[in-house]
């Protein structure tokens, strides 16, 4: 199974050397105002083949406490800086805001989706300086396609419809303004763009509270006309979605209400919308956090054998979407076993490193740690903010 990973890595390395000419030399010559910020020195190691300049970490913070924060690890000087956004925007009242939910790099900008604050904060990825604030009520996840950003939202935009239907907002990347929106299903979550279509999963987690049922639908929107084309019936409590260019892959969360089902994957053809058969082990692979590299056909997850609290049997896993194969790496017996509450992850495919966010007890500061892909080696660890969860890797364009 490790062969898959190795294969993926070698593919990436090849692409990297073909397309990307950045190396440690030019990166270390970047001047950024945030160089002055004090940080914790991290033993990053050799850092060979690493094209990235920074690893950003979004700490979600606690709902209603306005304590979301942005940290980063700068690979060139091996420094981990906490709360960088507040420090670089000192006169911005109330800082980054409340309850971050997604973090993405787009070109040289960094986009933080602030669920509790009802806004998307756009900042420079070079020095974390504020660029724009785009109001989006209850935003969840963001993706970029063809000059636009698309943000899912729990907020209802059609006052005549059922009041807990969510929506999607379209943002013009030139003006940084909302240009369009559409009403979706209950509590839409992650979204992906495949073949000029935006696929959004509808979770229905809040709907379950009042109406005893989750949503099951994947909404397909034309990225050209921004109209709903199709609704695909899938699993309950969907949260994650990605694609491999041909098919979309979705994963759900376990039944947080009654514990009647566990999480797993499904796959649908992006043209016919028909379900593509997956092996049972992938269908039943529990997911608590997922990152994907569509261009590499790779999905990485962390999950737990026992999902209901107190969770146990944590593992990370890699899925090859092309081969429909998965490889599990249990935490037990590795340095990763010390992780109390794995809450988020990222994979640096160039160095074969896994970054795992440990949210600890949810209300006190967590940690970020780096492991070799097979978890056998722990590379470094840094103290983060409250509920570290979302990562973004950045190399300057």
């Amino acid at each position: 199974m490790k062969k898959i990973t190795l294969l993926i890595f070698s593919c990436i390395l090849a692409t990297m050397f073909a397309s990307c000419v950045k190396d440690d030399g030019p990166l270390s010559r970047i001047t950024s105002d945030d160089n002055k910020l004090a940080g914790e020195k991290i033993r990053v190691g050799e850092n060979k083949n690493n094209p990235y300049y920074k690893l950003f970490v979004l700490n979600e913070g606690n709902f209603g406490r306005n304590n979301s924060s942005l940290d980063f690890l700068r690979f060139t000087n091996k420094t981990y800086v906490r709360d960088a956004f507040s420090q670089m925007n000192r006169d911005l009242a109330l800082g980054l805001g409340d309850t971050g939910n997604d973090l993405q790099v787009y070109a040289n900008s960094l986009w933080a989706v602030m669920n509790g604050s009802g806004l998307v904060e756009v900042m420079s990825a070079v020095d974390e300086k504020h660029i724009a604030t785009i109001p989006v009520p209850q935003p969840r996840f963001i993706t970029f396609h063809d000059g636009f950003a698309y943000v899912t939202s729990y907020a209802n935009i059609n006052k005549d419809s059922e009041e807990d239907l969510g929506s999607i907002f379209k943002i013009d990347l030139r003006t940084l303004k909302k240009v369009d929106s559409l009403s979706l299903g209950y509590q839409p979550e992650q979204l992906t763009v495949c073949k000029d279509q935006i696929f959004v999963v509808n979770g229905g987690g809040n709907h379950r509270w009042n109406h005893n049922s989750y949503d099951k639908r994947i909404t397909v929107i034309s990225a050209v006309t921004f109209e709903i084309k199709k609704e695909i019936e899938s699993m309950e409590n969907l949260k994650w979605i990605t694609n491999d260019g041909q098919n979309v892959w979705v994963a759900n969360m376990y039944d947080t209400a009654a514990g009647t089902f566990g999480s797993g994957f499904r796959c649908y053809n992006a043209d016919s919308y028909r379900e593509v058969d997956l092996p049972e082990d992938i269908k039943n692979l529990h997911v608590s956090y997922m990152v994907a590299y569509p261009s590499l056909g790779a999905i990485y997850v962390i999950g737990a054998e026992q999902e209901i609290y107190p969770s146990s049997g944590y593992y990370s896993a890699a899925i090859s979407m092309k081969e429909k194969k998965e490889t599990k790496y249990p935490f037990e017996g590795t340095p990763a076993a010390g992780i109390q509450n794995p809450y988020g992850m990222e994979v640096n495919v160039y160095t074969g490193e896994l970054y795992i966010a440990d949210a600890g007890d949810w209300v006190n500061p967590g940690k970020v740690a780096s492991f070799s892909f097979d978890l056998k080696e722990k590379r470094w660890e840094a103290n983060a903010g409250i509920l570290p969860a979302h990562f973004a890797l950045y190399y300057p364009l």
Partner: protein, 676 residues
């Protein structure tokens, strides 16, 4: 018959040679001379507050704030929830009672002190120690600590009918008219109070953050206004005190309110600053207690029926950040208690008590569990007095049994994991080596806090396998009193205590921040020292209590280390638990003279943390507030006109008790009261 009208209850011990147990004739005499004067309390260091001080305060929580060793968890503003937490046990461990009968809230076990009118009560007493001499219910004997509010019942003397009209108002757009009718016959007295309170509740606050940098200090200081914090409330209460062959107390109470919930102050886009959540409440109860006279033993029977309604709703149409919620909760409760005490031999007394409580919670939430609970308390104890020593031991058995529906479909009633029983022992020892000068006492006890209905059955949050939280409490106290002269005396009291909390109920989000659930995983160890020094002056040589011409100064200091022992090895291990200042203190001074009364209260607390890390990022700044309350009584025609002015937070301190819930700065409230 002698003690029946002692409206200011008898204290367990007090070195002040003052009249405590006033007979009917004493009361009459004192009261008449007091009619046009304020009084202050002679007993400085004890944990009680009498009516004049209570009425001087703009609200009940501000008066209670002066007790030492407590934290009032205050969400700020006129409608903000205010609950009391004694010695870091958690607010659920404190039983709030009116006339010895608990104020019921099985749903979340929190009692909002902001809802009570100051003029309705003649005495507030906080006890962390179960022994206080008078007969107690089994439930009170088994509670972690208790805050008792004593109703201001009508006196059986003077004019048959008297009336009080009040107008209270000022800051926060407060407009609060109220009226009372007091009537008495030969053997009964009754009061009827009605009040309305309306306020827009808005206040400005500074949102400030400074960061120290090599180039200097940078940061922001923004003035913001707290929005959506209006309050409209109505209170009606009827109180009867009758004495024929015993003492009967009856209280009927109704409270209705509608309020805006301003929510936490978080970053929001310019056009969507305000949270629009609202809450409506209706609380009603009827309670009675009866103590017959002429029996060889002391007996007290108490009962209560209550109904509470709460409607919480969000407004997604006007607040895009709101998740659509509209939930109604209806609680019904019934309570019955019987207690008896008597003498076995000289110096040896026994006490027995038994209580039964029924609670039911109904809601229109999907998949609701409709919990029912019957709780029984059985208590027995004895106290023995031998010279300067007194030993008091009690044992309380508590049995709680719940019935609830499992899952969404009403598939019958379930009782699995729903029976909880515990035994609470307690031992109190006191030693008085020098009467009226020196006294030592100590206690050791174990108490429990039952999980609330929300902890157990709140849809998708509750965890029905919770066990009660355990609190082991130990304390040692020394009191030294010294009388300088006929008119001046002082008291010094020092108390040290140690509390151990186990199986603490802690909320944990299960997969994301919307899905919290409750677990018995907390552990805390609390060590505290409370020191109080009081100096009191009375021109009349302490002939009356409260006094009418003199002053009091009380200085209180509390050192509190409440450490989290939940997870060995975690960053939180042995760190101060949230919202607990290590040092806190107060200076409270009162003076009365010729119809004037002035109170000055300074309260301070050092930094606190909103989580258990003790890191500067999660710190709440230290604060000091100073309040000045002034009153003057003027005889006008046949009645008395009272003018009150409270200047609160005169330093305009910007502070938070609960993170992201700013407290109001300087504010002034006034009252005009006419009694005839």
């Amino acid at each position: 018959m002698r003690k029946l009208l002692t409206i200011t209850a008898v204290l367990s011990f007090c070195g002040v040679p003052a009249v405590h147990a006033q007979s009917l004739s004493d009361t009459l005499e004192i009261k008449e001379s007091l009619v046009s004067a304020f009084r202050i309390d002679n007993t400085l260091a004890s944990q009680h507050i009498l009516s004049d001080k209570i009425q001087a305060a703009p609200n009940l929580a501000d008066a209670i704030r002066l007790f030492s060793g407590i934290q009032i968890k205050d969400y700020g503003g006129v409608g903000g929830l205010k609950t009391i937490n004694v010695r870091s046990l958690g607010s659920e461990h404190t039983t709030v009672m009116i006339d010895g009968i608990p104020v019921e809230n099985a749903q979340n076990m929190q009692v909002d002190l902001g809802r009570f009118n100051t003029y309705s009560f003649s005495r507030i007493e906080l006890s962390s120690n179960p022994y206080s001499g008078n007969i107690r219910s089994a439930r009170e004997m088994g509670s972690g600590s208790s805050l008792n509010l004593s109703t201001d019942y009508a006196d059986l003397y003077g004019k048959t009918d008297s009336f009080i009209v009040r107008l209270h108002g000022g800051a926060f757009g407060t407009f609060a008219p109220s009226a009372s009718w007091r009537h008495h016959g030969k053997h009964y007295g009754m009061t009827l109070n009605a009040s309305l309170r309306t306020a827009h509740g808005r206040y400005r606050f500074h949102e400030t953050k400074y960061i120290r940098t090599p180039e200097g200090i940078a940061g922001y200081d923004t003035v913001m206004t707290r929005q959506n914090c209006d309050l409209t409330s109505v209170t009606l209460d009827w109180n009867l005190l009758a004495s024929t062959n015993g003492r009967l107390k009856v209280k009927g109470y109704f409270y209705g309110s509608g309020r805006g919930l301003p929510g936490a102050v978080v970053r929001r886009p310019q056009n969507a600053i305000t949270c629009k959540d609202r809450q409506d409440d209706r609380n009603a109860f009827l309670q009675a207690s009866y103590e017959p006279y002429g029996l060889p033993l002391q007996v007290k029977i108490q009962g209560k029926v209550g109904y509470d309604y709460l409607w919480y709703r969000t407004d997604p149409k006007h607040d895009a950040q709101a998740t659509p919620i509209s939930n109604h909760f209806r609680q019904t409760s019934a309570y019955l208690s019987a207690a008896a005490s008597g003498q076995i031999a000289a110096g040896l007394n026994y006490k027995v008590a038994s209580d039964v409580l029924y609670n039911y919670l109904d809601s229109d939430m999907a998949g609701f569990a409709y919990p029912n609970r019957v709780t029984t308390w059985l208590a027995a104890g004895a106290d023995y007095l031998a010279g300067p020593f007194r030993v008091d031991a009690t044992l309380v058995y508590e049995l709680a049994r719940d019935w609830f529906r499992k899952g969404s479909d009403a598939g019958g009633w379930a009782v699995s994991n729903a029976t909880r029983d515990k035994v609470s022992p307690s031992l109190n020892i006191s030693w008085v080596p020098l009467l009226n000068v020196l006294r030592f006492s100590g206690y050791a006890r174990r108490t429990y806090r039952l999980p609330s209905f929300n902890d157990l059955y709140y849809t998708m949050v509750g965890n029905s396998s919770l066990v009660p939280e355990t609190a082991d409490q130990f304390g040692l106290k020394g009191l030294f009193q010294y009388r300088f002269s006929r008119t001046m005396l002082s008291e010094l009291e020092v108390e040290g205590y140690h509390n151990e909390l186990d199986n603490k109920i802690v909320a944990i989000p299960t997969t994301n921040l919307y899905r919290w659930s409750m677990y018995n995983i907390g552990k805390a160890r609390v060590n505290g020292i409370e020191a109080k020094y009081g100096l009191s002056y009375d021109r009349d040589g302490f002939q009356s209590d409260p006094k009418m011409d003199g002053f009091d100064i009380v200085i209180k200091y509390t050192w509190l280390r409440a450490l989290d022992y939940s997870t060995p090895g975690a960053i939180t291990y042995k760190s101060q638990i949230p919202y607990t200042p290590i040092h806190s203190g107060s200076v409270s001074a009162s003076a009365v003279r010729k119809g004037w009364r002035i109170d000055l209260n300074a309260i301070t607390a050092t930094k606190r943390w909103y989580n258990s890390t003790q890191l500067p990022e999660y710190e709440l700044d230290p604060y000091m507030t100073i309040d000045i309350w002034m009153s003057k009584i003027l005889p006008v025609r046949d009645g008395n006109l009272t003018l009150r002015l409270s200047l609160n937070n005169i330093l305009n301190e910007q502070y938070e008790v609960v993170t992201r819930y700013p407290m109001p700065g300087f504010n002034a409230l006034g009252t005009i009261e006419y009694c005839f």
